[in-house]
């Protein structure tokens, strides 16, 4: 017994060290880079800064380019909040009816939901369409695009979860005089809270981190999202690696906060489907 425990300890220590080296060292590097002066940082070496100027760099990043990063954070926040809100409501409505009512339409809809998950969006035709309806390079257009691309994943989660809510509840609500809309928005939707939280967190992180979407459909400095600012720092200020890494650090904070508070929901959302086919 004692030997087994020692073995477990050794295994554990090895696992801790390896995971720290492989996964934490890169993040330590980001913090170190973000604290250096420009000359130090452009060396790209893994070393302590000769002079610590973390807060100076922070101030510089926030002031760069007339504070583009502030604008970018606002843009990203608006994009994330709006698109995820649309996604959640629309996908919940579809998942709910899809799970409750079995009709000949269901296989067709299921097919298109899966297609939405698998098929890569056609880039230039989407730009062409956005231009046609006057939404290219606009925030509303980008919001609708993100909402559309996220629908399939959300519908799958909602459909699975609605199946676990007893139908007797619906019948009771109907007997009490609820109509279709009251039944869904007043009775079922509140019961979906766990899966709604999961969907919100997972999709918020996805939209917040999306790079290719805004790159194609929302070009322009005034529309930049946080991911685009990275690109800007990398493209123009090659001699300011310290600011680039400070920017990385800044845009990592929102997902980090989400992870700390919603760890369990994120895991639930990403691993649904692991257990039974």
């Amino acid at each position: 017994m004692k030997r087994a425990r020692t073995a477990a300890w050794i295994k554990g220590v090895v696992a801790i060290v390896v995971s720290a080296v492989v996964f934490l060292v890169p993040f330590v590097f980001v913090v170190l880079q973000a604290s250096k002066n420009p000359a130090d940082a452009s060396n790209l070496t893994f070393s302590l800064p000769t002079q610590w100027q973390f807060f100076k760099n922070l101030g510089d990043v926030l002031a760069t380019n007339n504070g583009i990063i502030w604008r970018a954070f606002v843009n990203s926040a608006v994009l994330t909040v709006c698109s995820v809100a649309i996604m959640v409501v629309l996908a919940a409505m579809v998942g709910y009816v899809l799970s409750r009512k079995v009709t000949r339409l269901n296989p067709v809809i299921n097919f298109f939901v899966l297609a939405g998950l698998i098929v890569p969006p056609a880039v230039v035709p989407t730009i062409w369409l956005l231009q046609g309806v006057g939404l290219f390079k606009t925030m509303p257009g980008m919001i609708l695009i993100e909402a559309t691309f996220g629908l399939s994943f959300c519908i799958l989660l909602f459909r699975a979860f609605v199946g676990t809510i007893p139908r007797e509840l619906d019948e009771a609500a109907v007997l009490d005089g609820a109509g279709a809309i009251r039944l869904f928005f007043g009775v079922v939707l509140p019961l979906l809270r766990p899966v709604i939280v999961t969907v919100i967190v997972v999709q918020s992180v996805a939209v917040f981190n999306d790079f290719a979407g805004p790159l194609y459909f929302l070009p322009g400095d005034e529309n930049a999202t946080v991911q685009q600012t990275l690109y800007e720092f990398q493209g123009q200020n090659l001699s300011f690696y310290n600011l680039l890494f400070m920017d990385i650090l800044l845009i990592t904070i929102p997902p980090l906060v989400a992870y700390i508070f919603f760890n369990r929901q994120i895991v639930a959302g990403l691993t649904s489907g692991a257990v039974k086919g």
Binding site: V97, A122, L129, L144, T148, L151, A180, V275, K276
Partner: protein, 311 residues
């Protein structure tokens, strides 16, 4: 883990949903209005289906967004005749399959370790998973510095041991493999979590019985864990392949498809042709990517899910 209650597999749920529940009384049907579909369907049709169908036409044209001239299959001919574009086509498969295979194997063994009694399990799980949540572009920039041929820490450590110090992203033979490795670093956390959820769901009696009978831990893994985590394996393969075949962000942030065109994939070719103003050619790339992804995913997911049902 409280993960098991969101049951069905993303990609197999379509087969099984709803059939088990008792048929609702016909009078309830009117309380599940079909118009609930309309807003979502409208978004889907306008912003996803229309562009997808339009792409089939525009891929056959020379196009500047305002006027399109029909040129038949010229774009596709160009795609497969230009060695650089053809390279991108081949790299897409290499990248997709390599990252997917690595994530399945690594994820599985990490999950086996993390579901056994190890010290600091929670910490290790958190550390492995965190890269999943951070910006892909940020990860790309970070690794570009860490893998810098002259100053990066990785080559620094290799130098200490007198090992070769390759130019990870600058050597044409290594660039794509290096990006794939970073991709695995970033994505293995999801695979691990999915496998962990699958392993935790196996009734512990199976393991106990096998241990009673004196099975070695390797035999337990082979005869119990691997077969019974098949749904998890299917999910990991499908998710990582969908992601890998469409991969763009990480490649763009690290090498931009270079040096030369040695780490281009279809998705980066689409972007380059778009930037260069060859919209028809870019859209042809999209159609090719569409065909590649569906040609692989549809048979594969039905195969994997059938196997899962048979068990």
């Amino acid at each position: 883990m409280a993960t098991t209650n969101l049951a069905p597999t993303a990609l197999s749920a379509g087969v099984s949903t709803g059939s088990k529940a008792p048929r609702p009384g016909t009078k309830m049907k009117s309380f599940y209005p079909s118009w609930f579909f309309i807003p979502a369907v409208a978004l889907y049709v306008i912003f996803f289906a229309v562009p997808t169908f339009a792409s089939f036409y525009f891929s056959l044209t020379r196009w500047d967004l305002f006027e399109s001239t029909f040129i038949g299959i010229g774009n596709f001919v160009e795609f497969f005749q230009d060695p650089q574009l053809l390279n991108g086509f081949i790299h897409t498969f290499e990248y997709g399959f390599a990252t997917s295979a690595a994530k399945v194997i690594l994820g599985f063994f990490l999950a086996v370790i993390l579901t056994s009694p190890v010290v600091a399990r929670g910490y290790i799980r958190a550390v492995i998973f965190f890269p999943v949540l951070i910006s892909t572009i940020g990860v790309g920039i970070m690794f570009k510095s860490l893998l810098d041929p002259f100053h990066g820490i990785v080559n620094g450590v290799l130098g200490v041991f007198h090992l070769p110090q390759p130019g990870w992203f600058t050597d044409p033979n290594l660039a794509l493999a290096s990006i794939a490795a970073v991709d695995v670093w970033k994505g293995v956390g999801i695979a691990t979590l999915i496998f962990m959820a699958g392993i935790v769901a196996i009734p512990s009696e199976y393991f106990e019985a096998a241990k009673m009978d004196g099975a070695s831990s390797w035999k337990i893994i082979r005869t119990i864990t691997i077969p019974l985590t098949r749904p998890a394996t299917a999910t990991v393969i499908i998710l990582s392949l969908i992601g890998g075949l469409r991969s763009f962000d990480l490649i763009w942030a690290t090498t931009g498809g270079g040096p030369g065109f040695t780490s281009d994939v279809i998705a980066s070719v689409i972007y380059k042709e778009y930037q260069a103003g060859f919209f028809g050619l870019s859209t042809a790339g999209n159609v090719i990517l569409f065909i590649v992804v569906t040609a692989i995913m549809v048979p594969l997911s039905s195969f994997l899910n059938r196997k899962a049902v048979e068990l």
